[in-house]
Symmetry: C3
């Protein structure tokens, strides 16, 4: 069994931002040499997500507005916000998810026609990272 | 390490519909010959889910009504709905999830007593598919 | 390829409760002897979650209050509640997730600086369990 590990680092301009990382994951897979297996991609921080959906800016705007309704930013409205103000980010990340597992078939990410991988940042403007871990043969 | 891949295809009658697929996944596992490992089951489309919960019709009705409250259908209410009307489906799928990973132990899906696997369709009446990928020994 | 399986059992005092299980998962990893691979941790019951977030009591209180807003307890408000009253628990679990997959690198859980693993109980005061399944080398 082969295994491969790589980190991706981010420092987003905005507090809330989605970053398209499919090409970075494809690059990691190529470096791994794995032909059949699983690829785990997960946020290493608890106020960020990795998710798969459409690479369409209107949809991303919908996600941000919807998450703001479900779990609004509030400096004083969360028990967690003692000395910080990112309580909403922990909730938003739960809706969008921590991780995705993608099948690897014949040396490629086995994605459907519109599946693209994104990093979802909900408390940005600081250095944070994603883990790519690949196992297989 | 063995690996096995299979697609399940769907064309639901209704726009929103849950399809019980535990038996299909068990069948795939049997075909794979894997005794110990992991089984990934994921929607290959971004307006559908794979999730694990109870096979109980009242609960499924609850899910549909609840998702409609959290992310209501709206032809004009989403930025994504330019030329289409499935903005809500992308949101609903995020709540229910893209994928499940199920342990394989002694040649069987290692599920709890009430765990059943479902395909969750939020923009149906068209051909869509699920990927089953199994790795192990 | 090595594989390892272990169950964790719970019987929470409260109906809704989070239990910190990172040390239990580390212990299982040590028992497995796996140095490189994947560790799946999943609830085996459909009214409970396994999730990764911060080990901070204020945040946990925020999660419980937020989930109660998104999917309130109601004895009569759910189709599922015929003979039981845990309809809300099935919904809350969907938001928090069934499972996490954690990378194993150099014999350790490859977690970010604040990532901690929790069992999320939404219908407790009864015996329920979590599955840890590890594959790798």
């Amino acid at each position: 069994m082969k295994s491969f590990r790589k980190e991706l680092w981010f420092n987003t301009e905005k507090r809330y931002q989605f970053v398209h990382i499919t090409d970075d994951v494809k690059q990691a897979l190529q470096e791994s040499g794995v032909r059949e297996g699983f690829c785990l991609v997960n946020a290493m921080h608890i106020t960020a997500s990795v998710f798969i959906n459409d690479n369409e800016s209107g949809l991303h705007q919908d996600y941000l507005e919807w998450l703001e309704k479900l779990a609004p930013y509030s400096r004083k409205g969360y028990h967690h916000n003692v000395g910080e103000d990112n309580g909403d980010a922990h909730l938003k990340r739960q809706v969008m998810g921590r991780e995705v597992v993608v099948a690897i078939t014949d040396g490629k990410l086995d994605l459907g026609p519109w599946e693209e991988i994104f990093y979802g940042e909900f408390d940005g403007r600081r250095r944070k990272r994603v883990l790519i871990k690949i196992i297989g043969e």
